[in-house]
């Protein structure tokens, strides 16, 4: 098996600017997502993820420009998510240069959207983002709107369902761990990774490089996503890759 574990830095983008800024390199403009993307490309990130958190739908045009300029400068795969509600939203992002599009709330509200999107553009470019919170021992439920809205949906059953509808990949975030630095929710991650046939990206809670290793080894994730540890310069992508390789995981080091 020579397929490598992917490390995916994630940038939160609001009104065309990186939220909080990226402090890890000597960027001319730390708030420019395209500059940050170029730096991650040069550092050997395996993919890049933009999550658009622009509040108003009218202002989302800026995002397309950011995606276009990133795709022109970075020859690596790019996933874009946030506020994707219609087949036309997906088409616009793909035409701007996104390789994959992440669907979140819209998939919870209307499951058939996943099927429509996969049939239109192919399973391989449809990522369903799952935000889950532990609500009882051995039970996780789907939450929307940054963890504020409960849906009552069982996360494992939901994961199976969206994959059966055509999701080509899952981006799984533990809302309990997100931003804590306490590590992935490994029980949740392995439950879902073992339940579906498609790759799972583990997200939420990375604070140390060992957490990345755990996400793959114990969480059975195919890829690990992190934001803060890379943006704030706690660790570099090459450091993370070297650590995971030293732990025995197959990593791309070129």
């Amino acid at each position: 098996m020579s397929l490598k574990t992917r490390i995916i830095p994630c940038l939160d983008v609001k009104d065309g600017r990186v939220v909080k800024g990226v402090k890890f390199v000597d960027l001319v403009d730390a708030g420019d997502p395209v500059e940050a993307a170029k730096a991650y490309d040069a550092a050997g990130a395996d993919e890049l993820c933009f999550l658009d958190i622009t509040a108003s739908h009218e202002d989302r045009g800026i995002l397309f420009d950011v995606v276009t300029r990133t795709a022109e400068a970075c020859f690596m795969p790019l996933t874009v998510g946030g506020g994707v509600r219609t087949v036309d939203d997906i088409r616009k992002l793909l035409l701007a240069g996104a390789d994959k599009v992440a669907i979140m709330t819209a998939a919870v509200q209307r499951r058939a959207f996943v099927k429509e999107a996969a049939e239109k553009f192919g399973d391989q470019c449809i990522v369903v983002a799952i935000d889950a919170k532990k609500v009882a021992p051995e039970r996780w439920e789907i939450f929307t709107h940054g963890g504020r809205n409960a849906t009552g949906l069982d996360a494992v059953a939901y994961a199976r369902e969206v994959v059966s509808l055509g999701a080509g990949e899952l981006l799984l975030t533990s809302m309990d761990r997100d931003g804590t630095g306490a590590g992935f929710d490994l029980d949740l991650t392995s439950r879902i990774a073992d339940a579906v046939s498609v790759p799972v990206i583990a997200s939420g809670g990375v604070g140390t490089l060992d957490h990345l290793v755990d996400g793959v080894r114990e969480g059975h994730a195919s890829a690990v996503l992190a934001a803060s540890i890379f943006h704030f310069g706690t660790f570099t992508i090459p450091q993370a890759k070297a650590h995971m390789a030293a732990a025995g995981l197959a990593m791309r080091l070129d």
Binding site: L3, K4, A71, E72, P77, G122, S222, D254
Partner: protein
């Protein structure tokens, strides 16, 4: 002399970034090239080199290609007849096959005889799609692979696919990748070549391969 490269646009996704990758590769290797994304068969007919990309399902891509009036005829003429260098990428490579078996049975161009079928890894825990970075295992020497380190310690290519082309003629397979068994990563026959992976997303390996394609005289 400036050479012209036609990247065929038949409604299959964004080709702007692919064009940029070809422009970057040309600039880095000092090749004077005009890269054109086009749906005009006349532009393809006049091009020195032809690239057929493709994302999505096999049948959709075939349908999209057929919907561009005259394009398949021009490809048959300049690629098969006039032997111009040709590169198919991802589903653009799969379309070279005799048949695609995704959802329904669809005829391909038949230039590289074989079927495009679902990948079935021997290890059932392996995920489908085969998504991410994997090594190439060259089956032969080839100008497209010049200067690209292959094998377990070599460079990586970015794959994202659930279906793969298995050529009938073993000599048409230029490179394999390993995913619970061998999976075709590159095909080549005469002036016709294809990559299952995305060179335009494969950073170092991808830019080198594109440079090699721009200098290829089959």
């Amino acid at each position: 002399m400036t050479q012209s490269v036609a990247i065929i646009d038949y409604g299959s996704g964004n080709l702007h970034s692919a064009a940029k990758a070809f422009e970057r590769a040309a600039a880095e290797s000092g090749v004077a090239a005009t890269i054109r994304v086009t749906s005009d068969p006349a532009v393809v007919r006049a091009a020195d080199r032809i690239v057929l990309p493709g994302v999505g399902a096999f049948a959709d891509c075939r349908c999209g290609l057929d919907a561009v009036s005259g394009m398949v005829e021009v490809l048959e003429d300049v690629v098969r007849g006039k032997q111009r260098p040709f590169l198919g990428i991802c589903v653009g490579m799969q379309l070279l096959a005799s048949r695609g078996l995704e959802y329904t049975v669809t005829d391909g161009l038949g230039w590289i005889p074989g079927d495009v079928a679902l990948i079935r890894p021997t290890d059932e825990s392996l995920k489908i799609p085969h998504m991410g970075w994997n090594n190439l295992h060259a089956q032969d020497e080839h100008p497209l692979l010049a200067g690209i380190e292959t094998g377990p310690g070599g460079l990586h290519a970015y794959f994202v696919h659930s279906y793969a082309l298995t050529p009938e003629r073993a000599e048409d397979v230029l490179a394999l990748t390993e995913y619970g068994g061998p999976v075709t990563a590159m095909v080549a026959r005469g002036n016709i070549a294809g990559t299952q992976f995305h060179p335009e997303k494969s950073q170092k390996l991808g830019l080198k391969l594109i440079s090699n394609f721009l200098g290829w005289t089959p």
